[in-house]
Subunit: 241 residues, 2 copies
């Protein structure tokens, strides 16, 4: 079964189940247990960080086929807490795997660049004081498109021989006092989206020239990267199969 | 002093201070007390309901002039809780009154019309199942524009001789699975915006024809109105002076 989830990450310690802390995976497994009576193994397309959100997280699991997708959506939405919702469910061949079958993932990072802190969007954006130069950020983002070794922008915990991934697009646009970065890539290594968001903020604030983002990428040196941007600004928007 | 506020109404029992329940007015007065050492009387342009939000609520109060607008914004944002933020402050003549000086108020009402309940936007929209017919709603909304007696669409507690107000515009548009109604009027009688939102939903769902909204208005009979729409969908967007 393929299930598409939306969640508000503010009260979650991320996707992945862990010994302590409330997680989306644990909430989903609990709901599935109460509906099917079984302990199901679930796989997610993206293991989002604590505080990060999803509009289109995709999850797969095997059922015994006795519940229809339609009934499953209704039952899950009745059982899940208010900050997680199931948008759709679809029967899939057994070979389908939310993580390994994914071709592209789309993430959005949001900055709020106004003097005052957010009240309505708190935990849903990164509040940066002083205006961001969107043109400079968009210019910087161009260097990210293509197949690259992402060593400078991913966690040191990623195996060095598995850091080459294709970035299909990287765009930056303004909507009022919100600046949005949208990244589409075949895979997002741990820390990648937030590390890129941190680097683009440096350019947007005028602390670094646009070329710097590409230079850091080419250096393949994690120490050259900027501060990682806060998780609240990040949303897993869509997974394409 | 004129102060512009943003707030997330989900955890508030509305603007107006009351014996029980957390209110925006009480939070603001508490913050002002701790900054100025004085008990200030504050006036708001719109007394928003429990659960309703503001992107541009305007508040006025008299200070002894010893604090600059710039310092007041910083001090208030440091003292106020996370779900209230001050966007700006401006010194005004003593004749300025947030409520009585206002010329126009702009409110937005948001519906989410998709099968699944919202997780990210919970408490920020009215979730209606089944698609809303935006064209029919827009056609219905046209009847609201102009100077009318709003008896059918306002609370019975409003004095019968004070129910005539000018509605400058009433528009409906779709953004993805969110439908937004925007109303600009010189004054919003108690219950008006949510009562209109409830009536437009009836048209959007095909339960009533577009003409019905205008017929209810002309009837000047509160009993003919639809169910009042939930407060979470409503935001005070802007006040024009």
């Amino acid at each position: 079964m393929k299930v598409v989830l939306e969640y508000d990450g503010r009260e979650f310690a991320g996707w992945q189940q862990q010994a302590h802390g409330r997680t989306v995976e644990a909430e989903l497994k609990r709901a599935l247990r109460s509906i099917t009576g079984q302990e199901l193994k679930v796989f997610a397309a993206g293991r989002t960080d604590a505080g990060a959100h999803a509009e289109g997280q995709v999850v797969s699991f095997q059922t015994d086929g006795r519940i229809s997708p339609r009934r499953l959506v209704a039952a899950l939405n009745a059982k899940l807490p208010g900050d997680v919702a199931v948008l759709s469910a679809e029967e899939m061949p057994d070979t389908f795997h939310a993580r390994y079958s994914a071709r592209w993932r789309r993430y959005r990072y949001r900055y709020l660049d106004r003097p005052s802190r957010p009240a309505l969007e708190r935990g849903r954006c990164w509040h940066v004081r002083g205006p961001l130069d969107v043109d400079a950020m968009a210019k910087a983002a161009k260097a990210l498109v293509g197949k690259h070794d992402w060593t400078s922008y991913c966690s040191a915990s990623e195996p060095p021989d598995a850091r080459v991934r294709d970035m299909r697009s990287a765009s930056v646009l303004r909507r009022g006092d919100v600046v949005e970065v949208e990244l589409v890539a075949e895979g997002f290594l741990r820390g990648l989206a937030r590390s890129i968001a941190g680097a683009l903020a440096e350019v947007g604030r005028g602390r670094r020239p646009p070329e710097w983002v590409g230079e850091v990428l080419e250096a393949r040196d994690r120490r050259q990267a900027a501060r990682t941007a806060p998780a609240g600004g990040l949303t897993l928007v869509e997974v394409i199969y």
